[in-house]
Protein backbone atom coordinates (compact mmCIF):
# COMPACT_ATOMS: atom_id res chain seq x y z
CA UNK A 1 0.00 0.00 0.00
CA UNK A 2 1.36 3.38 -0.94
CA UNK A 3 1.33 6.37 1.35
CA UNK A 4 -0.58 8.56 -1.08
CA UNK A 5 -3.38 5.98 -1.30
CA UNK A 6 -3.80 6.14 2.46
CA UNK A 7 -3.82 9.93 2.31
CA UNK A 8 -6.54 9.94 -0.37
CA UNK A 9 -8.66 7.46 1.61
CA UNK A 10 -8.21 9.49 4.80
CA UNK A 11 -9.29 12.68 3.03
CA UNK A 12 -12.35 11.06 1.47
CA UNK A 13 -13.40 9.60 4.82
CA UNK A 14 -12.83 12.94 6.54
CA UNK A 15 -15.16 14.67 4.10
CA UNK A 16 -17.79 11.96 4.61
CA UNK A 17 -17.41 12.32 8.37
CA UNK A 18 -17.91 16.09 8.14
CA UNK A 19 -21.21 15.78 6.32
CA UNK A 20 -22.88 12.98 8.28
CA UNK A 21 -25.15 13.86 11.16
CA UNK A 22 -28.62 14.55 12.43
CA UNK A 23 -28.68 17.90 10.68
CA UNK A 24 -28.16 17.84 6.97
CA UNK A 25 -25.36 20.19 6.00
CA UNK A 26 -24.59 20.76 2.34
CA UNK A 27 -21.22 22.12 1.25
CA UNK A 28 -23.03 25.08 -0.29
CA UNK A 29 -24.42 26.04 3.13
CA UNK A 30 -20.93 26.81 4.29
CA UNK A 31 -20.62 29.64 1.80
CA UNK A 32 -22.94 31.65 3.99
CA UNK A 33 -20.76 32.50 6.96
CA UNK A 34 -23.66 33.37 9.28
CA UNK A 35 -25.95 30.42 8.62
CA UNK A 36 -26.88 27.97 11.34
CA UNK A 37 -25.30 25.17 9.34
CA UNK A 38 -21.93 26.89 9.34
CA UNK A 39 -22.14 27.33 13.07
CA UNK A 40 -22.89 23.64 13.63
CA UNK A 41 -20.11 22.77 11.25
CA UNK A 42 -17.58 24.81 13.18
CA UNK A 43 -18.71 23.97 16.69
CA UNK A 44 -19.47 20.28 16.28
CA UNK A 45 -18.45 18.63 13.02
CA UNK A 46 -14.97 20.04 12.56
CA UNK A 47 -13.87 19.51 16.20
CA UNK A 48 -15.20 15.98 15.97
CA UNK A 49 -13.15 15.25 12.89
CA UNK A 50 -10.04 16.77 14.46
CA UNK A 51 -10.59 14.75 17.63
CA UNK A 52 -10.91 11.53 15.63
CA UNK A 53 -7.73 12.31 13.70
CA UNK A 54 -5.76 13.18 16.84
CA UNK A 55 -7.03 10.20 18.81
CA UNK A 56 -6.53 7.76 15.95
CA UNK A 57 -3.01 8.96 15.23
CA UNK A 58 -2.09 9.18 18.91
CA UNK A 59 -3.32 5.75 19.99
CA UNK A 60 -1.66 4.04 17.03
CA UNK A 61 1.65 5.75 17.74
CA UNK A 62 1.39 4.92 21.43
CA UNK A 63 0.95 1.27 20.49
CA UNK A 64 3.88 1.40 18.07
CA UNK A 65 6.19 2.89 20.71
CA UNK A 66 5.22 0.25 23.25
CA UNK A 67 5.72 -2.54 20.75
CA UNK A 68 9.19 -1.44 19.75
CA UNK A 69 10.26 -0.75 23.35
CA UNK A 70 9.10 -4.13 24.61
CA UNK A 71 9.97 -5.87 21.34
CA UNK A 72 6.66 -7.65 21.52
CA UNK A 73 4.05 -7.34 18.79
CA UNK A 74 1.09 -7.66 21.10
CA UNK A 75 1.89 -5.04 23.73
CA UNK A 76 -0.25 -1.91 23.53
CA UNK A 77 -2.09 0.50 25.83
CA UNK A 78 -4.99 -1.99 25.83
CA UNK A 79 -2.85 -5.02 26.65
CA UNK A 80 -0.52 -3.44 29.22
CA UNK A 81 -2.96 -1.82 31.62
CA UNK A 82 -2.10 1.75 30.54
CA UNK A 83 -5.69 2.74 29.84
CA UNK A 84 -6.96 1.09 33.02
CA UNK A 85 -4.28 2.87 35.05
CA UNK A 86 -5.26 6.22 33.52
CA UNK A 87 -8.86 5.57 34.49
CA UNK A 88 -7.85 4.66 38.05
CA UNK A 89 -5.95 7.96 38.18
CA UNK A 90 -9.03 9.94 37.21
CA UNK A 91 -11.05 8.15 39.88
CA UNK A 92 -8.46 8.85 42.57
CA UNK A 93 -8.38 12.53 41.67
CA UNK A 94 -12.18 12.70 41.86
CA UNK A 95 -12.20 10.93 45.23
CA UNK A 96 -9.40 13.06 46.72
CA UNK A 97 -10.64 16.45 45.61
CA UNK A 98 -14.43 16.46 45.74
CA UNK A 99 -14.55 18.93 42.86
CA UNK A 100 -11.51 17.94 40.91
CA UNK A 101 -10.36 20.63 38.53
CA UNK A 102 -9.55 19.59 35.02
CA UNK A 103 -5.80 19.96 35.47
CA UNK A 104 -5.85 17.80 38.60
CA UNK A 105 -7.52 15.02 36.66
CA UNK A 106 -4.99 15.40 33.87
CA UNK A 107 -2.02 15.25 36.22
CA UNK A 108 -3.29 12.30 38.26
CA UNK A 109 -4.34 10.36 35.23
CA UNK A 110 -0.99 10.99 33.57
CA UNK A 111 0.94 9.96 36.68
CA UNK A 112 -1.04 6.74 37.03
CA UNK A 113 -0.77 5.86 33.35
CA UNK A 114 2.99 6.41 33.47
CA UNK A 115 3.58 4.52 36.72
CA UNK A 116 1.15 1.76 35.73
CA UNK A 117 2.98 1.16 32.47
CA UNK A 118 6.38 1.25 34.16
CA UNK A 119 5.16 -1.30 36.68
CA UNK A 120 4.08 -3.53 33.83
CA UNK A 121 7.47 -3.16 32.15
CA UNK A 122 9.05 -4.14 35.48
CA UNK A 123 6.91 -7.28 35.60
CA UNK A 124 7.99 -8.02 32.04
CA UNK A 125 11.62 -7.75 33.06
CA UNK A 126 11.07 -10.46 35.66
CA UNK A 127 9.59 -12.89 33.17
CA UNK A 128 12.15 -15.12 31.58
CA UNK A 129 9.71 -16.69 29.19
CA UNK A 130 8.91 -13.78 26.86
CA UNK A 131 6.50 -15.44 24.52
CA UNK A 132 4.59 -13.19 22.10
CA UNK A 133 1.32 -14.60 23.40
CA UNK A 134 2.23 -14.85 27.05
CA UNK A 135 3.09 -11.18 27.57
CA UNK A 136 -0.24 -9.69 26.43
CA UNK A 137 -1.98 -12.31 28.54
CA UNK A 138 -0.26 -11.01 31.66
CA UNK A 139 -0.99 -7.46 30.49
CA UNK A 140 -4.72 -8.07 30.09
CA UNK A 141 -4.92 -9.65 33.53
CA UNK A 142 -2.96 -6.77 34.99
CA UNK A 143 -5.44 -4.35 33.43
CA UNK A 144 -8.32 -6.38 34.89
CA UNK A 145 -6.85 -6.12 38.37
CA UNK A 146 -6.44 -2.36 38.02
CA UNK A 147 -9.99 -1.96 36.83
CA UNK A 148 -11.36 -4.11 39.64
CA UNK A 149 -9.61 -1.75 42.08
CA UNK A 150 -11.30 1.11 40.25
CA UNK A 151 -14.67 -0.61 40.48
CA UNK A 152 -14.16 -1.28 44.18
CA UNK A 153 -13.51 2.37 45.08
CA UNK A 154 -16.10 3.64 42.64
CA UNK A 155 -18.74 1.37 44.19
CA UNK A 156 -17.97 2.86 47.60
CA UNK A 157 -18.14 6.41 46.27
CA UNK A 158 -21.25 5.84 44.15
CA UNK A 159 -19.26 6.70 41.05
CA UNK A 160 -19.96 3.62 38.95
CA UNK A 161 -21.95 5.60 36.42
CA UNK A 162 -19.22 8.21 36.04
CA UNK A 163 -16.69 5.46 35.54
CA UNK A 164 -18.78 3.86 32.87
CA UNK A 165 -18.90 7.14 31.02
CA UNK A 166 -15.09 7.24 31.04
CA UNK A 167 -15.11 3.71 29.83
CA UNK A 168 -17.30 4.57 26.88
CA UNK A 169 -15.12 5.92 24.14
CA UNK A 170 -17.34 8.25 22.18
CA UNK A 171 -16.97 11.29 20.00
CA UNK A 172 -20.59 12.30 20.55
CA UNK A 173 -19.75 14.88 23.18
CA UNK A 174 -16.82 16.38 21.34
CA UNK A 175 -17.58 20.02 20.57
CA UNK A 176 -15.26 22.97 20.38
CA UNK A 177 -14.01 23.79 23.87
CA UNK A 178 -14.09 20.20 25.06
CA UNK A 179 -11.42 18.45 23.06
CA UNK A 180 -8.48 20.85 22.89
CA UNK A 181 -6.50 18.78 25.39
CA UNK A 182 -5.95 16.35 22.54
CA UNK A 183 -3.60 18.81 20.85
CA UNK A 184 -1.01 17.84 23.44
CA UNK A 185 -0.58 14.63 21.51
CA UNK A 186 0.69 16.54 18.45
CA UNK A 187 4.10 17.37 19.98
CA UNK A 188 4.11 13.85 21.45
CA UNK A 189 3.73 12.37 17.98
CA UNK A 190 6.49 14.62 16.59
CA UNK A 191 8.79 13.60 19.45
CA UNK A 192 7.98 9.96 18.74
CA UNK A 193 9.09 10.47 15.16
CA UNK A 194 12.36 12.12 16.23
CA UNK A 195 13.09 9.36 18.73
CA UNK A 196 11.99 6.54 16.45
CA UNK A 197 15.45 5.09 15.85
CA UNK A 198 16.33 5.24 19.52
CA UNK A 199 13.18 3.31 20.42
CA UNK A 200 14.18 0.60 17.99
CA UNK A 201 17.62 0.35 19.55
CA UNK A 202 16.24 0.42 23.09
CA UNK A 203 13.96 -2.44 22.12
CA UNK A 204 17.01 -4.60 21.50
CA UNK A 205 17.55 -4.78 25.24
CA UNK A 206 19.37 -2.81 27.89
CA UNK A 207 22.87 -4.25 27.35
CA UNK A 208 22.75 -3.91 23.61
CA UNK A 209 21.47 -0.34 23.76
CA UNK A 210 24.15 0.69 26.23
CA UNK A 211 26.81 -0.86 24.04
CA UNK A 212 25.65 1.36 21.21
CA UNK A 213 26.02 4.38 23.46
CA UNK A 214 22.34 4.93 24.17
CA UNK A 215 21.12 6.08 27.55
CA UNK A 216 18.69 3.21 27.90
CA UNK A 217 16.75 4.39 30.96
CA UNK A 218 16.26 7.87 29.53
CA UNK A 219 14.94 6.59 26.21
CA UNK A 220 12.66 4.12 27.97
CA UNK A 221 11.27 6.84 30.22
CA UNK A 222 10.74 9.24 27.32
CA UNK A 223 8.94 6.55 25.35
CA UNK A 224 6.66 5.59 28.22
CA UNK A 225 5.93 9.24 29.06
CA UNK A 226 4.85 9.81 25.48
CA UNK A 227 2.57 6.78 25.71
CA UNK A 228 1.17 8.02 29.03
CA UNK A 229 0.57 11.55 27.71
CA UNK A 230 -1.26 10.31 24.64
CA UNK A 231 -3.33 7.76 26.57
CA UNK A 232 -4.28 10.30 29.22
CA UNK A 233 -5.45 12.94 26.76
CA UNK A 234 -7.48 10.39 24.82
CA UNK A 235 -9.08 8.82 27.91
CA UNK A 236 -9.98 12.22 29.35
CA UNK A 237 -11.50 13.69 26.20
CA UNK A 238 -12.89 10.72 24.32
CA UNK A 239 -12.82 7.73 26.66
CA UNK A 240 -11.21 4.34 26.23
CA UNK A 241 -10.66 3.24 22.65
CA UNK A 242 -9.52 -0.37 22.83
CA UNK A 243 -7.40 -2.35 20.37
CA UNK A 244 -6.46 0.63 18.16
CA UNK A 245 -2.84 0.72 19.35
CA UNK A 246 -2.69 -3.04 18.94
CA UNK A 247 -4.21 -3.61 15.52
CA UNK A 248 -2.90 -0.68 13.47
CA UNK A 249 0.87 -1.02 14.04
CA UNK A 250 0.60 -4.76 13.44
CA UNK A 251 -1.14 -4.36 10.12
CA UNK A 252 1.40 -1.76 9.03
CA UNK A 253 4.27 -3.98 10.08
CA UNK A 254 2.78 -6.82 8.03
CA UNK A 255 3.26 -4.90 4.77
CA UNK A 256 5.97 -2.39 5.69
CA UNK A 257 8.33 -4.21 8.02
CA UNK A 258 9.69 -2.73 11.23
CA UNK A 259 11.74 0.34 10.29
CA UNK A 260 10.06 2.89 12.56
CA UNK A 261 11.01 5.97 10.54
CA UNK A 262 9.21 4.50 7.55
CA UNK A 263 6.28 2.97 9.36
CA UNK A 264 5.31 5.93 11.54
CA UNK A 265 3.57 7.92 8.75
CA UNK A 266 1.69 4.78 7.66
CA UNK A 267 0.74 3.96 11.23
CA UNK A 268 -0.63 7.46 11.81
CA UNK A 269 -2.68 7.44 8.62
CA UNK A 270 -3.98 3.92 9.01
CA UNK A 271 -4.96 4.70 12.60
CA UNK A 272 -6.91 7.73 11.41
CA UNK A 273 -8.58 5.77 8.60
CA UNK A 274 -9.50 2.91 10.93
CA UNK A 275 -11.01 5.19 13.55
CA UNK A 276 -12.87 7.23 10.92
CA UNK A 277 -14.40 4.08 9.46
CA UNK A 278 -15.48 2.87 12.91
CA UNK A 279 -16.96 6.24 13.81
CA UNK A 280 -18.84 6.52 10.52
CA UNK A 281 -20.27 3.02 10.97
CA UNK A 282 -21.38 3.92 14.49
CA UNK A 283 -23.12 7.03 13.21
CA UNK A 284 -24.85 5.42 10.24
CA UNK A 285 -26.18 2.15 11.69
CA UNK A 286 -28.82 3.69 13.98
CA UNK A 287 -29.07 7.06 12.25
CA UNK A 288 -29.95 9.63 13.59
CA UNK A 289 -28.74 8.13 16.88
CA UNK A 290 -25.21 6.93 17.47
CA UNK A 291 -23.36 3.89 18.71
CA UNK A 292 -20.30 4.82 20.81
CA UNK A 293 -17.13 4.43 18.83
CA UNK A 294 -15.45 2.16 21.37
CA UNK A 295 -18.09 -0.47 20.71
CA UNK A 296 -17.55 -0.53 16.96
CA UNK A 297 -13.78 -0.42 17.46
CA UNK A 298 -13.95 -3.32 19.91
CA UNK A 299 -16.15 -5.47 17.68
CA UNK A 300 -14.04 -4.89 14.56
CA UNK A 301 -10.76 -4.76 16.48
CA UNK A 302 -11.23 -8.02 18.36
CA UNK A 303 -12.06 -9.86 15.15
CA UNK A 304 -8.95 -8.41 13.46
CA UNK A 305 -6.85 -9.33 16.49
CA UNK A 306 -8.14 -12.90 16.33
CA UNK A 307 -7.20 -13.05 12.65
CA UNK A 308 -3.73 -11.72 13.49
CA UNK A 309 -3.40 -14.35 16.21
CA UNK A 310 -4.47 -17.21 13.97
CA UNK A 311 -2.44 -16.37 10.91
CA UNK A 312 0.39 -14.52 12.56
CA UNK A 313 1.86 -17.05 14.94
CA UNK A 314 4.99 -17.50 12.89
CA UNK A 315 5.22 -13.81 12.11
CA UNK A 316 4.86 -12.64 15.70
CA UNK A 317 8.00 -14.46 16.72
Amino acid sequence: MRLWMLIVVAIILSVISLFIGAIDIKPTDLLDWNSQETEIFLISRLPRLLAIILAGAGMSIAGLIMQSLSRNKFVSPTTAGTLDAARLGILISVLLFSNAAYMQKVIFSFAFAFLGTILFMQILDRIKFKDAIFVPLIGIMYGNILSSITTFFAYEGDLIQNINSWLMGSFTLVISGRYELLYISVPAIILAYLYANKFTVAGMGEDFAKNLGLSYRAVLNIGLSLVAVISTTVVLTVGIIPFLGLIVPNIVSLYMGDNLRKTIPHTILLGVVFLLICDIIGRVVVYPYEIPVNVTVAVIGSVLFLILLFRGRAYAK
Binding site: I133, F134, V286, V303
Partner: protein
Protein backbone atom coordinates in the same frame (compact mmCIF):
# COMPACT_ATOMS: atom_id res chain seq x y z
CA UNK B 1 -5.14 -41.20 51.15
CA UNK B 2 -6.14 -41.06 54.81
CA UNK B 3 -4.65 -37.61 55.24
CA UNK B 4 -6.71 -36.47 52.27
CA UNK B 5 -9.88 -37.72 53.94
CA UNK B 6 -8.88 -35.73 57.01
CA UNK B 7 -8.34 -32.64 54.90
CA UNK B 8 -11.74 -33.09 53.27
CA UNK B 9 -13.32 -33.38 56.72
CA UNK B 10 -11.60 -30.21 57.87
CA UNK B 11 -12.84 -28.34 54.78
CA UNK B 12 -16.35 -29.69 55.33
CA UNK B 13 -16.30 -28.47 58.93
CA UNK B 14 -15.12 -25.01 57.85
CA UNK B 15 -17.84 -24.93 55.19
CA UNK B 16 -20.51 -25.82 57.76
CA UNK B 17 -19.18 -23.15 60.13
CA UNK B 18 -19.38 -20.58 57.33
CA UNK B 19 -22.93 -21.64 56.53
CA UNK B 20 -24.01 -21.50 60.18
CA UNK B 21 -22.33 -18.12 60.62
CA UNK B 22 -24.05 -16.82 57.54
CA UNK B 23 -27.37 -18.30 58.62
CA UNK B 24 -27.46 -17.13 62.23
CA UNK B 25 -25.20 -14.07 62.54
CA UNK B 26 -26.96 -10.88 63.66
CA UNK B 27 -30.41 -12.31 63.02
CA UNK B 28 -32.57 -9.88 64.95
CA UNK B 29 -36.32 -10.20 65.20
CA UNK B 30 -37.96 -11.89 62.25
CA UNK B 31 -36.16 -15.21 62.43
CA UNK B 32 -38.95 -16.91 60.54
CA UNK B 33 -38.59 -14.35 57.79
CA UNK B 34 -34.83 -14.07 57.51
CA UNK B 35 -33.64 -17.61 58.10
CA UNK B 36 -35.39 -19.40 55.19
CA UNK B 37 -34.24 -16.66 52.85
CA UNK B 38 -30.67 -16.91 53.99
CA UNK B 39 -30.79 -20.66 53.61
CA UNK B 40 -32.11 -20.22 50.09
CA UNK B 41 -29.06 -18.17 49.21
CA UNK B 42 -26.81 -20.73 50.86
CA UNK B 43 -28.48 -23.39 48.72
CA UNK B 44 -27.76 -21.39 45.59
CA UNK B 45 -24.15 -20.85 46.62
CA UNK B 46 -23.64 -24.55 47.32
CA UNK B 47 -25.08 -25.50 43.94
CA UNK B 48 -23.06 -22.87 42.11
CA UNK B 49 -19.89 -23.63 44.02
CA UNK B 50 -20.00 -27.35 43.34
CA UNK B 51 -21.09 -26.93 39.72
CA UNK B 52 -18.25 -24.51 38.96
CA UNK B 53 -15.65 -26.60 40.79
CA UNK B 54 -16.75 -29.86 39.19
CA UNK B 55 -16.90 -28.41 35.71
CA UNK B 56 -13.50 -26.71 36.01
CA UNK B 57 -11.67 -29.78 37.28
CA UNK B 58 -13.14 -32.00 34.57
CA UNK B 59 -12.36 -29.41 31.90
CA UNK B 60 -8.78 -28.99 33.05
CA UNK B 61 -8.10 -32.71 33.16
CA UNK B 62 -9.44 -33.17 29.66
CA UNK B 63 -7.52 -30.24 28.20
CA UNK B 64 -4.37 -31.12 30.17
CA UNK B 65 -3.70 -27.76 31.71
CA UNK B 66 -4.38 -25.86 34.90
CA UNK B 67 -4.98 -22.38 33.56
CA UNK B 68 -7.84 -22.65 31.09
CA UNK B 69 -11.31 -22.74 32.55
CA UNK B 70 -14.68 -22.80 30.81
CA UNK B 71 -15.42 -19.29 32.09
CA UNK B 72 -12.17 -17.81 30.87
CA UNK B 73 -12.79 -19.32 27.44
CA UNK B 74 -15.75 -17.00 26.90
CA UNK B 75 -18.70 -19.02 28.20
CA UNK B 76 -19.67 -16.27 30.65
CA UNK B 77 -19.92 -13.75 27.86
CA UNK B 78 -22.00 -16.21 25.86
CA UNK B 79 -24.57 -16.13 28.62
CA UNK B 80 -24.84 -12.37 28.25
CA UNK B 81 -25.15 -12.74 24.49
CA UNK B 82 -28.02 -15.21 24.83
CA UNK B 83 -29.96 -13.04 27.26
CA UNK B 84 -29.39 -9.91 25.22
CA UNK B 85 -30.44 -11.61 22.00
CA UNK B 86 -33.61 -12.83 23.66
CA UNK B 87 -34.45 -9.30 24.85
CA UNK B 88 -33.42 -7.83 21.53
CA UNK B 89 -35.53 -10.05 19.30
CA UNK B 90 -38.36 -11.17 21.55
CA UNK B 91 -38.68 -8.33 24.07
CA UNK B 92 -39.06 -8.43 27.84
CA UNK B 93 -42.78 -9.28 27.66
CA UNK B 94 -42.28 -12.35 25.50
CA UNK B 95 -42.70 -15.88 26.77
CA UNK B 96 -38.91 -16.37 26.48
CA UNK B 97 -38.41 -13.93 29.34
CA UNK B 98 -41.59 -14.24 31.38
CA UNK B 99 -41.42 -18.02 31.58
CA UNK B 100 -38.46 -18.69 33.86
CA UNK B 101 -38.07 -22.30 32.79
CA UNK B 102 -38.02 -21.48 29.11
CA UNK B 103 -35.48 -18.70 29.63
CA UNK B 104 -33.30 -20.97 31.73
CA UNK B 105 -33.47 -23.82 29.22
CA UNK B 106 -32.76 -21.54 26.27
CA UNK B 107 -29.69 -20.09 27.98
CA UNK B 108 -28.33 -23.53 28.90
CA UNK B 109 -28.90 -25.05 25.47
CA UNK B 110 -27.31 -22.09 23.67
CA UNK B 111 -24.27 -22.17 25.95
CA UNK B 112 -23.77 -25.90 25.44
CA UNK B 113 -23.95 -25.50 21.67
CA UNK B 114 -21.48 -22.62 21.80
CA UNK B 115 -19.13 -24.54 24.09
CA UNK B 116 -19.09 -27.59 21.87
CA UNK B 117 -18.49 -25.53 18.74
CA UNK B 118 -15.69 -23.65 20.44
CA UNK B 119 -14.03 -26.78 21.77
CA UNK B 120 -14.33 -28.65 18.49
CA UNK B 121 -12.54 -25.90 16.58
CA UNK B 122 -9.93 -25.12 19.22
CA UNK B 123 -9.04 -28.48 20.67
CA UNK B 124 -8.88 -30.48 17.48
CA UNK B 125 -5.63 -32.48 17.56
CA UNK B 126 -3.85 -30.11 19.99
CA UNK B 127 -2.93 -27.66 17.25
CA UNK B 128 -2.65 -24.58 19.43
CA UNK B 129 -0.30 -23.89 22.32
CA UNK B 130 -2.01 -23.27 25.61
CA UNK B 131 -1.28 -19.54 25.97
CA UNK B 132 -2.59 -18.87 22.49
CA UNK B 133 -5.82 -20.69 23.38
CA UNK B 134 -6.13 -18.61 26.49
CA UNK B 135 -5.60 -15.34 24.63
CA UNK B 136 -8.06 -16.41 21.94
CA UNK B 137 -10.60 -17.26 24.63
CA UNK B 138 -10.20 -13.86 26.24
CA UNK B 139 -10.47 -12.03 22.95
CA UNK B 140 -13.58 -14.02 22.04
CA UNK B 141 -14.90 -12.91 25.42
CA UNK B 142 -14.11 -9.28 24.59
CA UNK B 143 -15.72 -9.65 21.19
CA UNK B 144 -18.91 -11.13 22.60
CA UNK B 145 -18.92 -8.52 25.35
CA UNK B 146 -18.69 -5.60 22.96
CA UNK B 147 -21.20 -7.23 20.62
CA UNK B 148 -23.59 -7.35 23.58
CA UNK B 149 -22.96 -3.67 24.33
CA UNK B 150 -23.61 -2.94 20.67
CA UNK B 151 -27.04 -4.59 20.90
CA UNK B 152 -27.74 -3.06 24.29
CA UNK B 153 -27.30 0.41 22.88
CA UNK B 154 -30.03 -0.39 20.38
CA UNK B 155 -32.46 -1.82 22.95
CA UNK B 156 -35.24 0.28 24.40
CA UNK B 157 -34.01 1.75 27.75
CA UNK B 158 -36.87 0.25 29.76
CA UNK B 159 -36.25 -3.19 28.33
CA UNK B 160 -32.58 -2.67 29.11
CA UNK B 161 -33.30 -2.16 32.81
CA UNK B 162 -34.93 -5.55 33.09
CA UNK B 163 -32.12 -7.09 31.05
CA UNK B 164 -29.51 -5.60 33.34
CA UNK B 165 -30.87 -7.40 36.37
CA UNK B 166 -30.23 -10.68 34.56
CA UNK B 167 -26.61 -9.91 33.77
CA UNK B 168 -25.02 -9.28 37.16
CA UNK B 169 -23.90 -12.07 39.44
CA UNK B 170 -26.19 -11.97 42.42
CA UNK B 171 -27.13 -14.36 45.16
CA UNK B 172 -29.82 -12.10 46.52
CA UNK B 173 -32.31 -12.38 43.68
CA UNK B 174 -32.49 -16.11 43.14
CA UNK B 175 -35.65 -17.68 41.85
CA UNK B 176 -36.72 -20.64 43.98
CA UNK B 177 -38.00 -22.76 41.08
CA UNK B 178 -34.70 -22.41 39.25
CA UNK B 179 -32.83 -23.44 42.35
CA UNK B 180 -34.71 -26.74 42.42
CA UNK B 181 -34.02 -27.38 38.73
CA UNK B 182 -30.34 -26.60 39.26
CA UNK B 183 -30.23 -29.03 42.17
CA UNK B 184 -31.75 -31.66 39.93
CA UNK B 185 -29.26 -30.98 37.13
CA UNK B 186 -26.35 -31.10 39.54
CA UNK B 187 -27.63 -34.37 40.98
CA UNK B 188 -27.96 -35.96 37.55
CA UNK B 189 -24.51 -34.67 36.58
CA UNK B 190 -22.95 -36.21 39.67
CA UNK B 191 -24.72 -39.51 39.10
CA UNK B 192 -23.62 -39.51 35.48
CA UNK B 193 -20.13 -38.39 36.34
CA UNK B 194 -19.70 -41.10 38.94
CA UNK B 195 -18.59 -43.58 36.30
CA UNK B 196 -16.57 -40.91 34.52
CA UNK B 197 -14.48 -40.06 37.55
CA UNK B 198 -12.37 -43.20 37.61
CA UNK B 199 -11.78 -42.86 33.86
CA UNK B 200 -10.67 -39.28 34.40
CA UNK B 201 -8.01 -40.49 36.84
CA UNK B 202 -6.60 -42.58 34.01
CA UNK B 203 -7.05 -39.80 31.47
CA UNK B 204 -4.72 -37.53 33.39
CA UNK B 205 -1.90 -39.93 32.39
CA UNK B 206 -2.24 -38.64 28.84
CA UNK B 207 -4.02 -39.81 25.72
CA UNK B 208 -1.73 -42.69 24.70
CA UNK B 209 -1.45 -44.17 28.17
CA UNK B 210 -5.16 -43.88 28.74
CA UNK B 211 -5.97 -45.68 25.48
CA UNK B 212 -3.43 -48.37 26.34
CA UNK B 213 -5.20 -48.89 29.64
CA UNK B 214 -8.50 -49.43 27.85
CA UNK B 215 -10.18 -46.05 28.10
CA UNK B 216 -12.14 -44.86 25.07
CA UNK B 217 -10.33 -41.55 25.26
CA UNK B 218 -12.05 -39.52 22.56
CA UNK B 219 -15.49 -40.43 23.82
CA UNK B 220 -14.41 -39.57 27.34
CA UNK B 221 -13.27 -36.13 26.17
CA UNK B 222 -16.61 -35.55 24.47
CA UNK B 223 -18.57 -36.66 27.53
CA UNK B 224 -16.40 -34.55 29.81
CA UNK B 225 -16.80 -31.44 27.68
CA UNK B 226 -20.58 -31.80 27.56
CA UNK B 227 -20.67 -32.38 31.30
CA UNK B 228 -18.58 -29.30 32.06
CA UNK B 229 -20.59 -27.17 29.63
CA UNK B 230 -23.89 -28.24 31.25
CA UNK B 231 -22.57 -27.52 34.74
CA UNK B 232 -21.07 -24.13 34.00
CA UNK B 233 -24.16 -23.15 32.05
CA UNK B 234 -26.35 -24.10 35.01
CA UNK B 235 -24.26 -22.09 37.46
CA UNK B 236 -24.13 -19.03 35.22
CA UNK B 237 -27.82 -19.17 34.41
CA UNK B 238 -28.64 -19.45 38.11
CA UNK B 239 -26.59 -16.56 39.54
CA UNK B 240 -24.82 -14.85 36.64
CA UNK B 241 -21.15 -14.85 35.70
CA UNK B 242 -18.35 -15.31 38.29
CA UNK B 243 -15.33 -15.59 36.03
CA UNK B 244 -12.39 -16.51 38.23
CA UNK B 245 -13.95 -18.69 40.90
CA UNK B 246 -13.34 -21.96 39.04
CA UNK B 247 -9.71 -21.12 38.40
CA UNK B 248 -9.00 -20.29 42.03
CA UNK B 249 -10.73 -23.25 43.64
CA UNK B 250 -9.44 -25.86 41.19
CA UNK B 251 -5.83 -24.75 41.62
CA UNK B 252 -6.14 -24.49 45.39
CA UNK B 253 -7.48 -28.03 45.38
CA UNK B 254 -4.53 -29.30 43.31
CA UNK B 255 -2.09 -27.70 45.72
CA UNK B 256 -3.91 -28.73 48.85
CA UNK B 257 -4.49 -32.38 48.01
CA UNK B 258 -1.53 -33.37 45.83
CA UNK B 259 -3.41 -36.28 44.31
CA UNK B 260 -4.77 -37.31 40.94
CA UNK B 261 -7.93 -38.89 42.28
CA UNK B 262 -10.75 -36.86 40.85
CA UNK B 263 -13.21 -37.91 43.52
CA UNK B 264 -11.02 -36.17 46.11
CA UNK B 265 -10.18 -33.21 43.85
CA UNK B 266 -13.76 -32.48 42.89
CA UNK B 267 -15.08 -32.82 46.43
CA UNK B 268 -12.25 -30.64 47.73
CA UNK B 269 -12.64 -27.95 45.06
CA UNK B 270 -16.39 -27.93 45.65
CA UNK B 271 -15.96 -27.44 49.41
CA UNK B 272 -13.39 -24.69 48.87
CA UNK B 273 -15.70 -22.84 46.56
CA UNK B 274 -18.60 -23.14 49.00
CA UNK B 275 -16.33 -21.66 51.69
CA UNK B 276 -15.24 -18.88 49.32
CA UNK B 277 -18.78 -18.02 48.27
CA UNK B 278 -20.53 -18.25 51.64
CA UNK B 279 -17.62 -16.74 53.55
CA UNK B 280 -17.20 -14.03 50.94
CA UNK B 281 -20.89 -13.21 50.91
CA UNK B 282 -20.80 -13.02 54.71
CA UNK B 283 -17.94 -10.51 54.50
CA UNK B 284 -19.75 -8.48 51.88
CA UNK B 285 -22.99 -8.31 53.85
CA UNK B 286 -21.68 -7.78 57.37
CA UNK B 287 -18.14 -6.39 57.16
CA UNK B 288 -18.34 -4.29 53.99
CA UNK B 289 -22.03 -3.63 54.70
CA UNK B 290 -23.02 -4.24 51.10
CA UNK B 291 -20.69 -1.50 49.92
CA UNK B 292 -19.12 -3.82 47.40
CA UNK B 293 -20.10 -6.98 45.56
CA UNK B 294 -18.77 -10.49 45.84
CA UNK B 295 -17.86 -10.65 42.15
CA UNK B 296 -15.61 -7.58 42.47
CA UNK B 297 -13.69 -9.20 45.33
CA UNK B 298 -13.43 -12.57 43.59
CA UNK B 299 -12.26 -10.97 40.36
CA UNK B 300 -9.64 -8.93 42.19
CA UNK B 301 -8.22 -11.87 44.11
CA UNK B 302 -8.67 -14.16 41.13
CA UNK B 303 -6.81 -11.79 38.82
CA UNK B 304 -3.79 -11.61 41.09
CA UNK B 305 -3.79 -15.37 41.62
CA UNK B 306 -4.07 -15.87 37.89
CA UNK B 307 -0.97 -13.78 37.18
CA UNK B 308 0.86 -15.69 39.90
CA UNK B 309 -0.12 -18.98 38.26
CA UNK B 310 0.93 -17.78 34.82
CA UNK B 311 4.31 -16.66 36.12
CA UNK B 312 4.80 -19.93 37.96
CA UNK B 313 3.85 -22.04 34.93
CA UNK B 314 6.09 -20.01 32.67
CA UNK B 315 9.01 -20.54 35.01
CA UNK B 316 8.37 -24.27 34.90
CA UNK B 317 8.12 -24.16 31.10
CA UNK B 318 11.08 -21.85 30.55
Amino acid sequence: MRSNVMKLLVLAVIAVICILLYGFYDIKGGFDYAFPRRMMRVGAMVVTGFAIAYSTVVFQTITHNRILTPSVMGLDSMYEVVQTLIFFFAGSASIWVVNQYLNFTAAIVAMIVFALLLYRTLFRADKFPIYLLLLIGMIIGTFLGSFVTFLQVLIDPIEYLSLQSKLFASFTKIKVELLYISFAILFVAFAYGYKLISQLDVASLGRENAINLGVDYDRLVMKGLILSAVLIATATALVGPITFLGLIVANLAYQFFATYRHSVLIAGAGLISVIALVGGQFLVEHIFEMKTTLSVIINFIGGIYFIYLLLKESRAAG
